[in-house]
Amino acid sequence: MTKIHVRDFDFFYGASKVLHGISMDMPDKQVTALIGPSGCGKSTFLRSINRMNDIIPDARHDGLIEIDGKNVYGGGTDAVELRRRVGMVFQKSNPFPKSIFDNVAYGLKIGGMRNRRQLNEIVEKSLTRAALWDEVKDRLQTSAFALSGGQQQRLCIARALAVDPEILLMDEPASALDPIATAKIEELIYELKDNFTIVIVTHNMQQAARVSDRTAFFMLGKLVEYSETKTIFMNPKQKMTEDYVTGRFG
């Protein structure tokens, strides 16, 4: 079933058009990887899904992005509510200068939740889902900055999960992490897809191959090929995709 439906989506920064007629359907509870060289538009596209580009001056779009059949940019869509439903994890982990507990509870408190018992439950559930609970359960009140890079990134994932999103957008979530922390994030992505729809931007092609069900290859703002991940990595249809995944690209 399609979760995110995109048709003829263009995106502009001022006069410069950075996305050209993107059309793709991302299925529910699967991992879709966006790959392509730097500047190909994959991150811009990712950020279009939860309207993170809204705050950029002079940015505008054309075309359609729907989640569950509802236009993301339509008049009836509240951007704040949209971003609760569509969580985001960034390349560089960005915990707030607060305790571990308060980082995870932050979105809930903003949303007006005050019930301590309920907060405790959701914080524990979110940290467990982010595969971090066992490592932090005895020090929830210590600063988030005391955690390692990999733990901080999982904390950010827990923070995103706490507000019960349906979609997680990940922009190179492991590119600043060592191989062990990377492997943990990848395992986490694999487990999370039972409950969430995940879209991940990655420069690491092996990572795309390992974690995703479908892969989209972007080049110069265009969607060159979008297919099952195994097809992209075993038998891509486009020569440009072939050249990129085999590292022939200059």
Binding site: M205, Q206, A209, I232, F233, M234, N235, P236, T241, E242, D243, V245, T246, G247, R248, F249, G250
Partner: protein, 223 residues
Amino acid sequence: MTMHRHFDDDIEAIKDMLLRMGALIEDAISQSIRALLDRDTKMAEEVIARDDEIDQMELAIDKRTIELIAKMQPAASDLRFVATIMKITPELERIADLAQDVCERVIELNREPQFKPVTQLPQLAENAQKMVREALDAFVRGDAMLARQVIRHDDVVDQLTEDSFRALLTYMMENPRNISPAIRLTFIGKYFERMADNATNICEMVVYLVEGKMIKHTAPDSP
């Protein structure tokens, strides 16, 4: 713009090793045929002696290919190339073993008086040899059309195997003294027929390499 990759040098090196192995195997087949037709025991012994060299090449290719997977994590056509190499190298090694088997039977046959000529047998051997040669050509050139032609040709070889078996069976029924050489020749027919099967397997992998399609265990022209 296409960039040069040192991966391409590795691929070329492996291809080169495989081709040298292929050349040795083609020699082994043609020498085994000549040993059979000329009753040349010495030549048969040479083929047997050279088999070790082919076995060593198989090991060297395996080693190099596994290293390539470990270091480069190949994708797309690179991945299919590596998979193809790993599947066709044992087929080639098996063909060399079969040429050796032919030579062992030739040596045994040469200890007995010359047997009646079985016309289908040289024809069978030459057809099998042609299939192996063309399978290697198809691999080198990445020619899926030639590969498919070779696969279709396997039916001709199967028919020749059947024909030579019938002829040999007739000889055996004529005179029990014919049984020993005729059985050895039946074996030889079977060895060449197996070589053709191995060539078919190689060609199936060539189609996979070029088109990404696994045609094994399907009809040759099915999509």
